[in-house]
């Protein structure tokens, strides 16, 4: 991206619509759905929040492959087997991790944005990314384990406050 960006709305004093997504599954196809909705909505003027919880947290880890991330023996082991964005399995017919590779190939070949491109677009559109405090605690993760675009660590009460007045979708 070049130069400064300004995502403020144009000249009409319209009220901004809002979409909040709860990214729970951490699966490749559901992450594609999450980031497609998020970037599409942000691009047409919605304020967008994504709240990553449980397996969803894998998508925002700094280390995108398999790595022993997390504090403690069990969290580290979980962290390794779950991996990050690049190791996300598909929810059906994963074939031991072969399917996400096939999907990435097909998406590139058909000129459809890949998961990684969608995540980059989400960052460029300044979508609000949040991590779930409770799930981080279970999995021994800290904010520094996540990409720096993650705006904050939240609990249910703050998420409900942020999502109020808009639509919320659980994926």
């Amino acid at each position: 991206m070049m130069g400064a960006t300004d995502f403020s709305l144009g000249k009409l004093p319209t009220e901004q619509k809002k979409l909040s997504l709860i990214s729970f599954s951490g699966e490749f196809d559901k992450l594609v759905a999450t980031f497609t909705l998020a970037t599409g909505a942000a691009a047409i003027g919605y304020e967008v929040n994504i709240f990553f919880t449980f397996w969803g947290l894998d998508a925002i880890k700094k280390k995108q492959g398999r790595a022993f991330v997390g504090k403690g023996f069990l969290p580290k082991l979980f962290g390794f087997f779950m991996g990050g964005l690049r190791s996300a399995p598909v929810s059906r017919l994963n074939f031991l991790g072969l399917s996400p590779k096939i999907f990435r190939y097909l998406m590139r070949k058909k000129n459809v944005a890949t998961l990684e491109e969608l995540v980059e677009a989400a960052k460029a559109l300044e979508i609000n990314l949040y991590a779930c405090e409770m799930a981080m605690h279970i999995l021994g993760l800290e904010k520094t384990d996540f990409i720096h675009e993650v705006k904050g660590v939240l609990g249910v009460a703050t998420f409900l406050e942020l999502s109020e007045g808009g639509r919320t979708i659980f994926i």
Binding site: M1, M2, G3, A4, T5, D6, F7, L9, G10, K11, L12, T14, T36, L37, T39, G40, A42, A43, I44, G45, K110, N111, V112, A113, E117, L118, A121, A124, L125
Partner: protein, 74 residues
């Protein structure tokens, strides 16, 4: 005031909107973005969502085949 160009004829949802929005964000007030897009969702929704966000859609015209041109002023 300058004019910038963006070709999204080979893009699919959501990148049609995403690339338009990111390109518009780089412009100064008064600048114009010339977007080449195809019929269907991009033609129906890029001008509409730009208007909804308060940008001026100066022109929507047919170029050739399925390709159309939209001029959006920030």
């Amino acid at each position: 005031m300058s004019t910038f160009k963006l070709d999204i004829t080979r893009e699919h949802c959501p990148m049609t909107f995403v690339k338009t929005k990111i390109e518009l964000s780089k412009l100064k007030s008064g600048d114009v973005l010339e977007v080449l897009l195809t019929e269907g969702e991009p033609l129906e929704n890029v001008p509409k969502s730009s208007r909804e966000q308060g940008f001026n859609v100066l022109e929507v015209s047919h170029v050739e085949g399925l390709v159309h041109k939209v001029l959006i002023q920030k």
